[in-house]
């Protein structure tokens, strides 16, 4: 639980934190496109500068991002190794028995490993600097045009923010019930699969009961405050694009164009 940094929000007051969450969401989507377009030096340099600049301006401890990357080690190494040995095109550099390592293989191994790491580090910048509530507000705002096609944008955003809000609560609750049952001699860690599955009942039953109780309580609390969906609802914090947002969009557009030119030229 402690090593999970993907999806963690680190509160702060940096320029990146103050960007409109919609800007950050759009920028992240654009960044993902940038990483997928990147084939050569310029693309990689752009991705490096995006992550580097975001990290520097957000004043977040780089170790948190590195820790997030570390949890990906297995995936990255697997991708690299598979690419290294399964790529058969290009000139052979080393060959022993039936395994062949080619220059194309090395290129692809490095390329895919880097791409994975850039994808994760860039997208964690979004969650590190944006609170879950701001993120769902942004999603709702961006999905609003879809309402014309009867897409329930507000309801989905509301469900998302409730779900996000209750993750820590339920984790705490799970921890507490596990400890309470362990105190009564329950054993969640040893025994056959069947025995362990059965051992989950004393954990899951109270957890579900409590989740339903919380859902009922929350529904009652919302109704007693006259909640009736998104219709005519005003917000306490109205999302507004400011100068820094337009600056960020401008820089991202320039990066995309640059990367596009590189892709076309090569």
């Amino acid at each position: 639980m402690n090593t999970l940094t993907i999806g963690v929000f680190v509160p702060g007051d940096s320029i990146i934190h103050r960007l409109d969450p919609r800007t950050k969401l759009i920028l992240t989507v654009a960044y993902v496109a940038l990483v997928f377009m990147a084939k050569q030096v310029i693309g990689v340099a752009l991705a490096v500068s995006y992550v580097g600049a975001a990290l520097w301006m957000s004043k977040i401890n780089p170790r948190i991002v590195l820790r997030g990357l570390r949890s990906l080690t297995v995936l990255v190494v697997m991708t690299a190794v598979l690419n290294l040995f399964l790529t058969q095109t290009g000139t052979t550099l080393v060959q022993f028995w039936k395994l062949r390592i080619t220059d194309d293989g090395i290129y692809l191994a490095v390329y895919f490993a880097l791409r994975l790491m850039f994808l994760v580090s860039g997208t964690t910048m979004l969650t590190l600097t944006t609170s879950p509530i701001a993120l769902t507000d942004a999603l709702e705002s961006l999905m609003r045009p879809l309402k014309r096609f009867r897409f329930p944008a507000h309801e989905i955003a509301m469900m998302m923010s409730i779900a996000l809000r209750f993750i820590p609560t339920l984790m705490e609750e799970t921890d507490k019930i596990m400890k309470a049952q362990a105190s009564r001699g329950a054993d969640f860690e040893t025994g056959s699969v069947w025995k362990r599955a059965k051992a989950l009942a004393p954990l899951l039953a109270p957890l579900f009961i409590s989740a339903f109780r919380r859902a009922a309580d929350l529904a009652l609390a919302m109704e007693s405050r006259c909640y009736q969906g998104g219709e005519g609802r005003t917000r306490m914090r109205v999302l507004m694009y400011g100068a820094i947002d337009f600056a960020a969009f401008g820089i991202m557009a320039a990066m995309l164009i640059l990367s596009g030119i590189e892709a076309i030229l090569l």
């Binding site: 948190i64 019930i177 400890k179 309470a180 105190s183 009564r184 001699g185 329950a186 004393p202 109270p206």
Partner: protein, 288 residues
């Protein structure tokens, strides 16, 4: 006897917001004692007691039960769960079985004892919390009232026959009668030879019942001693974010009016007698 030796516990890991919840706590809870651990929210009480039956492993330091390190092996840790019964805050949330009998016997069954023995123990445990076995055994725990559910949950811990019972805020959310009944139950258990460790921020509960008080503040043990000693020092209590029990506050208010009652009175009846004695003697002086 439970001992904590230089016990520290840190949540989280380096780099990502590590928080020291308990720092260098050394304390001894003697056998057959009614001890209480008090402290404001976030003072480390709950973290501390979760070390007493090996639910948490100390970051440094040791926990000894009857002189044995409970974290020595898996076996000793398991053994500590049998010796030290833990009743969490709102224990009624841990009920899960179809019938009250099965739920109460859960801990007993986990000890590997036979159904017949567990049935006897469930009967005994329910009796001790004041619930009739024949009336309740086959009913669902979820049909009960909140107070009854809590008593069933406590019976579920008692069925393992622990020699020490640790309770985290057991009176939270109970009505005055339920509270008195629960504290009476703890007194009765102690009289039968059990050790009771009560975690509470209700100073009244502690002042009335405990014989030994540990004050936690900011993860450290700020003070320990008899309740009278601890509670008489109202300023120190305020310094650690606690409000003194009502009788101490009353004595303070009276002192402001120039009426000085003897220090260290914790119970309403005692205070009543003291005030009556004081008024009688004053009345006497007025007449002369």
């Amino acid at each position: 006897m439970i001992e904590a030796v230089d016990l520290s516990h840190t949540y989280g890991s380096a780099g990502l917001m590590p928080t020291a919840a308990v720092t260098n706590v050394t304390l001894t809870i003697p056998d057959n004692c009614f001890a209480a651990i008090i402290g404001s929210t976030g003072s480390g009480k709950t973290t501390l007691i979760q070390h007493f039956n090996g639910l948490l492993k100390p970051s440094s330091g040791k926990v000894l039960i009857d002189g044995e390190d409970i974290n020595a092996t898996k076996q000793t840790r398991k053994e500590s769960r049998r010796k030290v019964g833990m009743v969490f805050q709102y224990p009624e949330h841990q009920l899960f079985e179809e019938t009250i009998e099965k739920d109460v016997a859960f801990g007993c069954r986990n000890l590997g004892l036979s159904d017949a023995v567990c049935r006897d123990r469930a009967r005994e445990a329910l009796g001790r919390v004041g619930m009739d076995f024949d009336e309740f055994a086959q009913r669902s725990p979820f049909e009960l009232s909140g107070g009854q559910m809590r008593r069933v949950a406590i019976a579920g811990v008692l069925s393992m026959r622990p020699s020490t019972l640790v309770l985290d805020e057991p009176t939270a959310g109970l009505d005055p009668r339920g509270r008195t009944e629960l504290l009476d139950l703890l007194d009765a258990l102690r009289a039968e030879g059990d050790t009771i460790v009560l975690v509470s921020h209700s100073m009244e509960d502690v002042a009335e019942r405990a014989k030994l008080v540990f004050v936690m503040h900011d993860g450290k043990l700020a003070a320990q001693g008899e309740p009278r000693e601890i509670f008489m020092d109202a300023d120190r209590l305020r310094a650690v974010g606690l409000s003194p029990p009502s009788m101490v506050l009353l004595a303070e208010e009276l002192a402001k009016l120039g009426i000085v009652v003897p220090r260290g009175i914790m119970e309403v009846d005692e205070m009543k007698e003291a005030i009556i004695t004081l008024m009688r003697s004053e009345g006497g002086t007025n007449e002369q």
